[in-house]
């Protein structure tokens, strides 16, 4: 029981990580993929924050009456990682906008199908060109 209740943040981390990972793999909609990626990254943020917590520790603000502090370093680290995650999301969304302009779709399968179709058309036109007498 302590394995589950005592370490419940870590179980939450694992569950969130798997949900995020599943969304990245299974969803064809690119926006949903990015949402999955965000959930996946958030699970890692929670993991770092849990690591920094010390039982009974106070927030790391100095005061004479406090003896035990939580470790602030993982929290600082994860602030950086959150910023990185934000930049990734922004870039991904910008790419999705441009994908929508170029392909008229934000569905993975549809985009892939269009690319494959391009490839087929191209090789057909190549064959046609080869058959022409030089």
């Amino acid at each position: 029981m302590t394995m589950i209740l005592g370490l419940y943040n870590y179980w939450v981390v694992i569950v969130l990580m798997m949900i995020g990972f599943y969304m990245i793999i299974a969803h064809g909609n690119l926006i949903k993929k990015i949402v999955g990626l965000n959930i996946f990254q958030t699970s890692v943020f929670i993991f770092y924050i849990s690591v920094g917590n010390i039982e009974g520790g106070s927030a790391p603000i100095w005061d004479e009456s406090i003896i035990l502090y939580s470790n602030p370093l993982p929290h600082v680290l994860i602030l950086t990682a959150i910023v990185v995650g934000l930049a990734t999301t922004a870039l991904a969304l910008a790419l999705i906008v441009r994908l929508n302009e170029a392909y008229g779709s934000i569905n993975e399968d549809e985009i892939q199908a269009m690319d494959n179709q391009d490839m087929v058309n191209h090789s057909l036109s190549n064959q046609h060109r080869d058959q022409e007498p030089c």
Partner: protein
Amino acid sequence: MLAHLPILQVIVPLMAAPACLLLRRPKLVWLFTLLASALAFIISILLLQQVMIAGTISYELGGWSPPWGIEYRVDKLNAFIAIIISGLSTLVLLASRTSIEKEISADKHTLFYILYLLSLTGMLGIVTTGDAFNVFVFLEISSLSAYSLIALGKDRRAIWSSFQYLIMGTIGATFILIAIGLMYQMTGTLNMADLATRLPEVAETRTVITAYAFFIVGVCLKLALFPLHLWLPNAYVYAPSIVTAFFAATSTKVAAYLLIRFTFSIFGLSFSFTTLPMGTLFLTLGLLGIFVASTVAIYQDNIKHVFAYSSVAQTGYMIVGFSMATTAGLSAMLLHMFNHALMAGALFLALAAVTYRVGATKISDFQGLGRQMPFTMAAIVIGGLSVIGVPLTAGFVSKWHLVVAAIGKDWWVVAGLLLLGSLLAVIYVWRIVETAYFKAPMTGKDSVEEAPMAFLFPIWILASANVYFGIDTRLSVETATAAAKGLFGVAP
């Protein structure tokens, strides 16, 4: 000034990037970028000199002493990789102005150089830092700018491959972040040297093994080791040609460096190769990578695809050297990293020149180019011979060392397979040579001319370097061996 070289290595391109915005005129921006990159190259040469004479340099960022403050730590391995990155980046930049004229719309030129410098900053940062979390931050700096650079390609497939790379790359980087978190949880430190002393005490725990597993998967995604290479070919093909030349020569080398640094310096040899069966795993993946990627390369229609798959195969060779876990194997790997940077740089720059003149790099576009672009094609032939590993080229030297190292471990079958893999390279290189030299130009393409000097100059520096380091191997072999010995704790 000399004492601050480790930080200048990273700060110079980092500060140069936003400064580009102030210059406005594309030609000035280009000159400025070139200057910054050349400066980074000079700094890395000076660093290697210092390291060779005085040993490992430790630089305390802001005067905070490690392990509390961030430490930049330069030994022979870092300095060697930094030279590869900054040197190739400078040579590629020489051709960039002419190349992006045709491939990127004029209003985006300044942004292109800014992204290029940021990507360079990230790579040099990964290499020089001695702090595990810094590695993650720099990895993301270089990756985010890499995604944007790839999306600059003209074809709409560039955006799609950039997006796919973004998903894969972010998963890889997040895995590395998890690994660093688990390591911090067990040791309470992020400093690499400090981690190295503290990890062995807790090495047998499940947490550390999990950390290593996450790290390996994450870094192998970045390394594009078979079977995690799926993002690489399309990203290389649809990116602007100059970006491909830059990344093919440098970015997988950085991931290979991370693999070496974490496995040998931090987790330690006995943990990864004795406690865990990493040797067998990497040997299998490396050999599979060589054969599968080389075979796929033979059937490609686009020559950029051919050499992209060839790059995946060359990574396989590096990983086979890595899996030997001996000084000879590791120095062969480092040597192959150096030589492959030269080959990939020469080949992809030559392909950029072909794109500039002909407009595409399909195999049919190469018909008759042997006569129309003799110097560019000759460079492709030299690069191709080097990929195969023909004597008197750089590729021969590293494959020779690799085979000797395999024989030194009594791995006769592996040695044979390495040679067999080179035969596959003969096939795909020959296809190009045959088309370019023995077929008449296609109708309507009679007027193709030789590439301009801006291309020929860096292409031929790299092509002659391929020959030079195939004959006079003292510099490259000595540095690689010294770096490898440093990792095994043997005084060179």
